[in-house]
Symmetry: C2
Subunit: 184 residues, 2 copies
C-alpha cells in the first residue's frame, strides 16, 4: 500500500480536473427518477448536490485561497452557505447545472494555476470561522475531497432509490449501509 | 420526494450504460497514488475495484440472467468469486482495465437487450446459493446498485488517501466517516 504522506498540488489538481466530466458521464440524460429523488425530507437529490458544488466554485474555494494569500490569519473566511443552491438552482435544468459547474471549475483551476504557488506557500495559514487555523494545503486538499464526498453521497442517494428493488441482495451492498452523510 | 416504487428496466439500463464512461472520466490518466492505494491490508484499491467489476461482467450478471430464464429455481447460481481479480488483472494497466470493462459492458447490455424481456419475465425466479429465492428484477436492480456501490467505495478509497491532508476539515467530510464497506 502506498500512502499520500504529503499533500501534492498536482495530484489534487488531477482529481479536481476530472470531476466535471465524471458528473457529466454519470448524470447527463439520466431519467429524472435518479437525479431528482432524495433520501427523504430535508435531504439532497443529485440535482441539489450539483447545485451545492456550483455554489462552492462561486463562493468558497478560490475566494478562500485568496483570503489566505492576501490576509493570512487576520481575516476570517466568509461562512459557506451550504443551502444556497436550494434557492438558486431550482429554475435550471440538470444539463445547465452540469455546464455551469464545468465552466466554473475550468475558470477556477486556471486561476489557481496562474497563482504559480510555490511549495512554501502551501503552509501559509488562514482562519476558518468554526475550525480555527488552517493551511492553504489543507484547503486545497479539502477542495478535492469535497468533490469525492459529494460523488460518494450522490452514489448513495441514487442507490437508495433501489433499496427495495434489490431484494435480499441489500445486505451485500455497502452503499445501502453507508451512514457517512448525515442529513445536511 | 419521488421514490422508485417499482423496478423499471429502462431506468436500470440507464445507470448501467453510464458506468464505463464515468469510471473513464474519473480514473483514466490519474496519478498512481490515487488508483493504486488502498485502505490498508487486505483492502481494495481503485485498480482492484475495476478488476472486480470486470470479473462480474464476465461471470456474474448475464450468466445469472440466463440461468433464471433457462432453469429457474432448479439450478443454483454459480458462486461469485469476489477475489478473482486480485489474480487476473495484476499484469494489466489501468487503461487496459477501463477498456476491457467498457467493451464487456457494451456486449452485456446488447445481450440483455436481445433477450427482449417482457414485464412478466421480471418476476421469474432463480436460486442464489446463499440468499435463496430471488427474482430477475432483483438481479437486474442489483447489477445497477453494484455499480453504484463500487463507485461509492472507490470515492472512499481515494478520499482516504487525504484523510490527514485535509486537517481539521475531516469532520465535515462524510466520505471520511463512511463505514458502509467492510473489508472485502
Amino acid at each position: 500500500m502506498e500512502s499520500l504522506t504529503e499533500f501534492n498540488l498536482a495530484e489534487a489538481v488531477a482529481v479536481l480536473t476530472r470531476t466535471p466530466a465524471t458528473l457529466n458521464a454519470l448524470l447527463r440524460g439520466l431519467p429524472n427518477i435518479w437525479v431528482r429523488s432524495n433520501e427523504g425530507k430535508d435531504t439532497w437529490s443529485a440535482f441539489d448536490i450539483l447545485g451545492h458544488l456550483i455554489f462552492g466554485e462561486r463562493t468558497d474555494w478560490m475566494p478562500r485561497v485568496r483570503i489566505i494569500l492576501d490576509s493570512g490569519e487576520s481575516r476570517l473566511f466568509d461562512p459557506f452557505d451550504r443551502f444556497a443552491q436550494l434557492k438558486e438552482s431550482q429554475e435550471k435544468s440538470l444539463e445547465q447545472l452540469l455546464d455551469d459547474f464545468t465552466h466554473l471549475r475550468i475558470e477556477n483551476l486556471a486561476a489557481l494555476h496562474a497563482l504559480n504557488l510555490r511549495q512554501e506557500d502551501l503552509s501559509r495559514r488562514g482562519r476558518h470561522p468554526a475550525l480555527g487555523v488552517v493551511t492553504l494545503s489543507e484547503l486545497l486538499a479539502t477542495w478535492a475531497v469535497h468533490d469525492l464526498t459529494h460523488l460518494h453521497q450522490l452514489c448513495r442517494v441514487m442507490a437508495r432509490q433501489y433499496c427495495d428493488a434489490v431484494g435480499p441482495w441489500s445486505t451485500y451492498l455497502g452503499v445501502l449501509q453507508c451512514t457517512g452523510h448525515s442529513a445536511p
